[in-house]
């Protein structure tokens, strides 16, 4: 049984200027112990999906489809039960750890709060557990009495990770967990997350725009564009042999050092990510696509099989359906 299963998810934000479709029919499946990376540019809907899984979206937002977490339908949950599922069923690590922590409370108390609120332990036991958690994320237990300002950015992000683990959830959603960190600290935090994930057999949904980070931590990758998944499959295949022209362009923005194909040749796309209120007809990527042809503005491609365990939403993939497509660059 999969830990998370999302079926035909459609999310429309309510604004005074009308509905804004942020997510437009997304299927996602995460098994036990699996790390799925969700990539895409700002505004593609990836963080909206993260928030929807724990129903953290504004009240007037319209959510259609099905989100099932550990076999339970999240969208049908009663408020009380939902509150229990948050932290114990799934927890989120946000991007700005520095803003997510309460500056006037000791970090140990903040982690303990998550445990006691969910009646997982009494106060004294909770503090023991906090000590273990801090050790698990590589912080000395004496940090339990520190205030957030006494910690560095990387250490704060470690506290956030400890908090996410506090109630033993099956699923961890990491939304840009290392984006605000420095390169060296980012590598430390990534290594920690991967180690914990392996050790505890956690399922993880890892969200970031940085494809090179995702390919390092993920088993499978899903690439989003304009509220839809345009390509998914095993992480390395998708990154090194992209089938969709958008994935190809995105991968090009994270060049491999030493690869002469990228030397003095920055690759990028013309144009800008689409406005969710004015999504182009047909394939939403066609105005920016370097290989678009006459059918693209009218025919909306669904996800076609593009290789073993791989799918891509591109009419060219449908045409050239012969195993793994060769990367012609």
């Amino acid at each position: 049984m999969s830990v998370l299963s999302v079926r035909d998810l459609r999310i429309t934000y309510h604004t005074t200027a009308g509905g804004v479709p942020a997510v437009r029919g997304v299927d996602l499946e995460i098994d036990r112990g699996e790390v799925v990376g969700l990539a895409g540019e700002s505004g593609c809907g990836k963080s909206t999906i993260a928030a929807a899984i724990l129903r953290l979206l504004p009240a007037k937002t319209r959510i259609e489809g099905e989100i099932s977490l550990n076999g339970e339908d999240v969208l049908e949950m009663k408020p009380g039960h939902l509150r229990t599922v948050r932290w114990t069923g799934a927890s989120i690590i946000f991007q700005g750890a520095m803003h997510a922590l309460n500056p006037v409370k000791r970090v140990g108390d903040q982690i303990a709060e998550a445990i006691t609120t969910h009646h997982q332990a009494g106060e004294r036991e909770a503090l023991v557990r906090v000590g273990q958690l801090l050790e698990q994320v590589g912080l000395p237990p004496r940090r339990i009495a520190d205030y957030p300002h006494e910690l560095s950015g990387g250490q704060k992000q470690r506290v956030m990770i400890a908090m996410a683990l506090a109630c033993n959830p099956n699923l961890i959603i990491a939304d840009e967990p290392t984006t605000a960190l420095d390169v060296m600290v980012q590598a430390q935090v990534l290594a920690l997350l991967k180690e914990l994930q392996r050790e505890l057999g956690l399922a993880m949904l890892f969200i970031t725009h940085d494809l090179s980070v995702l390919v390092e931590v993920s088993d499978r990758l899903a690439i989003m564009y304009a509220g839809q998944i345009v390509e998914d499959g095993p992480a390395q295949d998708v990154f090194y042999r992209p089938a969709h022209p958008y994935t190809k362009a995105l991968a090009g923005a994270f060049p491999e050092i030493g690869d002469q194909r990228f030397r003095r040749k920055p690759s990028g796309l013309g144009g800008d990510p689409p406005d969710p209120q004015r999504i182009p007809s047909g394939c939403p990527f066609h105005p920016r696509c370097p290989v678009a042809f006459d059918s693209c503005p009218t025919v909306e491609p669904r996800l076609f099989a593009s290789g073993e365990g791989r799918r891509a939403a591109c009419l060219l993939v449908e045409g050239a359906l012969t195993g793994v497509r060769k990367d012609e660059s």
Partner: protein
Amino acid sequence: MSAVDGTRSEGGVREPPVLELRELGVNFAGRVGLVAGLLGRKSVDARAVDGVDLSLHRGEVLALAGESGCGKTTTARAIMGLLKPDRGQILFEGRPLGRNLRDYRRRVQMVFQDPTGSLNPRQTIYEIVAEGLRIHHITRGPNGETEEQLVARALSRAGLRPPERFFLLYPHELSGGQRQRVVIAGALALDPEVIVADEPVSNLDASVRGEILRLLLKLRDELQISILIVTHDLGLAWTVADRVAVMYLGRIVEIGPADDVLTKPLHPYTKALLDVVPEAGGIDRPILQGEPPDPTRVPPGCRFHPRCPEVASGRTKTSGVDDECHAEDLGLAELQSGRFAACHLARLIATGRAGGDTPTEREPADGQEKNSVS
């Protein structure tokens, strides 16, 4: 120095660097609390930039890389005259900067990280691009162009075409990539020789970055503008830079042609930085522990030794340079043609000597652009 100093390889023409830094130093004053002050504690200055030698040649793209807090942005700001250096010299076309910065500030332009923050939300694009011209009292171009023609040309060079369509727009009506192009157009309007770009694409969406970088390369090719790119992203350096300088704790620890520095690094810190560039299956590689170091407490000896993996592994000990690493602060030395590094072990390896004297004099961080493969 001598042979490589300021010489371009093509035809052996001697041309001085457009911009040169000599022993540049910038301190930030430290503070102590009242009680600590009364108890006699002295404030400690942060040596954000601590002796940087660097030269930028005409038409060269040089990447200045390092962790946050290494002083790369401070160096850029000192070059722009936004901070007053405490030590050292900045030379433009061979002449030290004097008190009159007006001409210099026209010819050396800066592009910041966040285009939204760089643009006045209440000015039209036309006014933003024309502002520099007005400040510098340029009413006519060199060939008698009007202000409108100059603005249109700058916008069009920055890839905003047709330029007239953008004249009356406001920044909020543009996308992030377009805003950064407006910032670049504002710089181009003044016909600069040097552009200092501080993380010019890190606030932009991944798919848009390439276009802005391509624009910078095009400006170099077509207008021979020299570009100093400050970045933490070595992958970016790989895609655009001719030479790469790696900074650690206020000083350049390695500089040389990008093809060499990024594929065959000499300094252990450069190696460590390259090791953490994310790549598939690379999660189990060694990572430098600890936080970026504190510029108020620069360690004695080689400033990298407390975090150096070569010191930790004992390799410096077996090579016999361990004492120097802990005690002797060293400058850059040319270890291979055009390649400079500040590392006792790398020097030892380069000279092929076991033990013996190592040169202690400081050499300028200067090199030449290698005729590299494309």
